[in-house]
């Protein structure tokens, strides 16, 4: 257990409002100056299913679930067993329930935990418009040590559109909840007070929102959308935002339309993006190949969920890697990138827009449900310089060649409206001018050109996050970076150095850079949330791995926790 953080799970059935209370607690903790990370687990119900909100509050930036939870509070216990595996409890954890909504499940009270009952429902019924979830908020705020004033300020903002009665009810419930905690509960060890912060220096944001923000910052001004869990929030955030930035979002009739709409918009010179999840990206693959052949820059974000097929749509997994890398027909070099944290969703998406535009190629960004739907306090990102800048011809004349063979492989791209630049973008193989060609020489030249522009480009240091030293390295990617990073920080605190390599640029592979990063390494542990070892197989296909190699490949939906990674390393060394 990390003494510098506290982990809380808040459970309840449909309509109990655990997501509302969890988010309110997250906002209050952020306002008070802490860092925090909220993830959620929901059942498949459209509205009002049982759900759990999981919150971790910390003095330092945090982007991983902890090994266990110190506090579990249930507004009620209905269907709680569905989530039990996702909420490992610490020894001596505080388990809070309301006797009026039923007893806790037997397996819980059999654990070495401290169970206490709180009359949430009864107390709420004595307050006009009182709700048990707001009492729960007060109880938890008191346990953590969030001042009433911070909660009141936050409720003022949160409930300002709901009227004075709702606000009064909220404040009364929180106050009553705090009193209940003082009277009925043992004191828990509180976090040290947060460092003072200046207002606005940090952001409270979900990975999906950060992805949208990165897209707009990179210059995306056309978005096509087809709703799919768990990517929809990217599109919903972008709808008003891209419009405000002078672009637009179109809801398409299907994913085949959304991918082709963005290709059409980008052919017209407008940086364009769509976001989807595995089933949607599978439908888009044919047209991503078109964008490779016609050299049209686009960005496709895949917020991965458990597959195959419809799988478990609301839960996280890293199993679309194979599709993103190898799903295109023909030899179709393209970019595949993956953010390594909620905060990095912003950077990686912005970088993807920049790279796609610079290289006139599709970029696939692999996020996942765990990154996309988690909400975290992050440092405000710097004004990054990565922007969409597409090479266009300075002037065009009769001899213009859209697919001219250049040293870099990138050919200046005429945009409709440029007189003299008329050409036909084509999925058919073509000559440098762009006319359809079945010639072996044209095919070989254009294949080489499309490969060369990617393999010859200098991606700089952002291809991976490389941290730490030592002769043992952990290689991972995407959302599992958070728990791996925390596991290695704990090892470091215990006096052991271990190297972290979190790969951000998955395609094209960077064997020379990884070789450098692995200099002196004798043991490599590969961590991924995928039963089929897709990342391990990818590494074996493209890289030389030194010394002994082991894998820790665990499917979703249960998250990989820091202790899982630590156990793997400690059992080995």
């Amino acid at each position: 257990m990390n003494p510098a953080s506290v982990s809380i799970a808040l459970a309840g059935s449909g309509g109990a409002g655990v997501l509302t209370s969890g988010n309110a607690l997250l906002e209050a903790a952020a306002q008070a100056g802490w860092y925090a990370y909220l993830s959620r687990s929901a059942g498949p119900q459209i509205r009002g299913g049982e759900s759990v909100t999981m919150l971790r509050i910390c003095n330092d930036p945090v982007e991983s679930p902890d090994d266990t939870f110190e506090i579990l509070m249930a507004i009620d216990w209905r269907n709680f067993e569905r989530f039990a595996a996702e909420i490992p409890l610490a020894d001596n954890a505080l388990v809070l329930g309301d006797a009026d909504t039923g007893p806790p499940p037997g397996f819980l009270t059999a654990l070495p935990v401290r169970y206490h009952e709180l009359p949430l429902k009864r107390t709420a019924s004595g307050i006009a418009q009182g709700r048990p979830n707001m009492l729960a908020l007060g109880v938890l705020a008191e346990l953590i040590g969030i001042p009433l004033q911070t909660i009141t300020d936050m409720l003022n903002r949160l409930l300002q559109t709901k009227g004075q009665v709702a606000l009064d009810a909220g404040v009364s419930c929180v106050t009553a909840g705090m009193e209940l905690a003082q009277k009925k509960l043992p004191a828990v060890q509180r976090l040290p007070a947060p460092a003072p912060r200046s207002p606005g220096e940090r952001l409270l944001i979900t990975g999906n929102e950060a992805t949208g923000l990165g897209a707009v910052r990179g210059g995306v001004r056309f978005v096509a959308a087809y709703p799919i869990t768990p990517a929809t929030e990217i599109l919903e955030w972008l709808a008003p935002s891209v419009d405000k930035a002078g672009g637009t979002l179109v809801q398409a009739e299907d994913e085949l339309a959304s991918i082709n709409q963005i290709i059409g918009a980008s052919f017209g010179g407008t940086p364009a993006l769509t976001a989807t999840s595995g089933p949607g990206m599978a439908l888009m693959l044919e047209s991503i190949g078109l964008a490779v052949a016609a050299e049209i820059p686009i960005v496709v974000v895949d917020v991965m969920r458990n597959g195959p097929s419809t799988g478990i749509p609301t839960k996280s997994e890293q199993a679309d890697l194979g599709m993103a890398l190898y799903g295109l027909h023909g030899d179709a070099p393209h970019l595949v990138l993956a953010p390594t944290s909620v905060a990095d969703c912003l950077f990686t998406t912005q970088w993807a827009v920049h790279l796609a535009e610079a290289l006139q190629v599709p970029a696939i960004v692999l996020s996942d449900q765990s990154l996309g739907q988690s909400r975290a306090v992050i440092e405000r990102p710097a004004d990054l310089t990565f922007m969409a800048r597409r090479e266009t011809p300075a002037s065009v004349s009769d001899g213009y060649q859209r697919y001219a063979l250049t040293a870099s492989g990138v050919s200046p791209m005429a945009i409709p409206g440029m007189a003299g630049g008329q050409y036909t973008a084509d999925g058919l193989e073509h000559s440098p001018v762009g006319t359809p060609s079945g010639s072996a020489a044209d095919h070989a030249e254009q294949l080489h050109k499309r490969q060369q522009k990617l393999s010859g480009f200098n991606y700089g240091r952002h291809w991976a996050d490389i941290e730490g030293k030592g002769d043992t390295a952990v290689i991972t990617w995407g959302s599992t970076t958070g728990p791996v990073r925390e596991a290695l920080a704990r090892r470091k605190a215990a006096g052991h150095t271990t190297r972290l390599i979190a790969v951000r640029l998955l395609a094209p592979a960077q064997p020379a850079s990884l070789g450098d990063a692995l200099a002196g390494v004798e043991r490599v542990l590969i961590v991924e949330q995928c039963h089929g070892q897709q990342f391990y197989r990818y590494l074996r296909a493209h890289y030389e791995l030194p010394g002994e190699v082991r894998t820790f490949c665990k499917p979703g939906p249960l998250p990989i926790r820091p202790c899982d990674v630590l156990t793997q390393i400690e059992d080995w060394l």
């Binding site: 306002q31 912060r197 207002p199 606005g200 220096e201 940090r202 952001l203 409270l204 944001i205 923000l213 707009v216 910052r217 001004r221 056309f222 096509a224 405000k244 930035a245 002078g246 672009g247 637009t248 179109v250 398409a252 009739e253 085949l256 339309a257 959304s258 991918i259 082709n260 709409q261 963005i262 290709i263 059409g264 918009a265 980008s266 052919f267 017209g268 010179g269 407008t270 364009a272 044919e286 047209s287 190949g289 078109l290 306090v377 405000r380 004004d383 005429a414 409709p416 409206g417 440029m418 007189a419 630049g421 008329q422 050409y423 036909t424 973008a425 084509d426 999925g427 006319t435 359809p436």
Partner: protein
């Protein structure tokens, strides 16, 4: 687009490229190419302000034969390419073209939704009731008893698709039928279609002399629609439902407002969007 200062008016030939079509001798699509270049010349549209978008099939090869911007995409997806381009670049003239298999079978869903969405583009379908590029299979507009395909030796056996009826029901703003036997009439109709705001749909009966040789007789069978264009969908529906698919003319002209989001930057500062997340 300001064309002042250009000395000579553009002729139809100025809209043609030097690429030689892959079409069979006698193919109706040559006549469509000719009619389209005449229409563009009639409108004096600068070639760089025009984009012709297509999918896959014989007729979908048309962009490469023009001196405009073009996009030859994947099978069935020409309409979303065109919708994305037009919405992002509303000042361009965007034409989408292709065949009956591309537009009504693999791309059928996009056809319905492009009619609904009513983006200001013109969709030209060269209908020959057959897949020509794959050597003669039944398309959605093929007669049920057409038995010349190895794939359906007894005939497709299913009811043909009536694209004009479906366009009307789906909300297209302009619906017309033309025939390659009258390239000048087709050119005039294309001018009307391009000028009409919103989604305009022109079906052009374009014989496939190789796989549907009896379509050579279309030129004797087509005749002008007996009544003028209507803006009343009920009247248009009655006419189209009793149609033998060989009347040519503008059959429906609606006045629905085209779909076009305004593209106007209202951000005062580039980092403005971040402020909603600030703590």
């Amino acid at each position: 687009m300001d064309t002042e200062g250009t000395t000579a008016a553009l002729a139809a030939r100025d809209y043609k490229s030097s690429v030689k079509p892959v079409w069979c001798p006698g193919c109706g699509d040559f006549s469509v190419l000719s009619a389209l270049t005449k229409a563009l010349a009639e409108m004096q549209l600068p070639p760089e302000q025009v984009a012709v978008i297509s999918g896959i099939g014989c007729s979908s090869r048309i962009p490469a034969y023009l001196n405009t911007y073009g996009f030859h995409g994947v099978h069935g997806r020409a309409l979303p390419l065109g919708v994305g381009l037009k919405v992002a670049r509303p000042e361009l003239t965007v034409l989408v073209s292709g065949g009956d298999g591309d537009g009504f079978s693999i791309g059928g869903n996009h056809f319905l939704h492009a009619c609904r969405r009513n983006v200001d583009i013109t969709y030209i379908v060269m209908d020959n009731q057959v897949y020509g590029m794959t050597k003669g299979q039944a398309s959605p507009t093929t007669a049920p008893d057409w038995s010349l395909s190895k794939l359906t030796p007894e005939g497709p056996g299913i009811n043909p698709f009536y694209p004009l009826v479906i366009a009307l029901a789906s909300g297209a703003n302009f619906i017309a039928r033309a025939s390659t036997s009258d390239p000048n009439g087709t050119a005039r109709m294309l001018v009307e279609a391009i000028r009409h705001p919103g989604f305009s749909f022109v079906q052009i009966l374009s014989p496939c002399v190789t796989f549907q040789p009896e379509q050579r007789d279309w030129k004797k069978l087509v005749r002008p629609a007996p009544v003028a264009a209507t803006s009343d969908p009920a009247k248009a529906a009655r006419r189209l439902m009793t149609d033998d698919n060989l009347f040519v003319g503008i059959l429906y002209q609606g006045s629905r407002e085209p779909f076009q989001p305004r593209l106007e930057n209202r951000l005062e500062h580039p980092t403005e969007l971040e402020e909603q997340f600030a703590v």
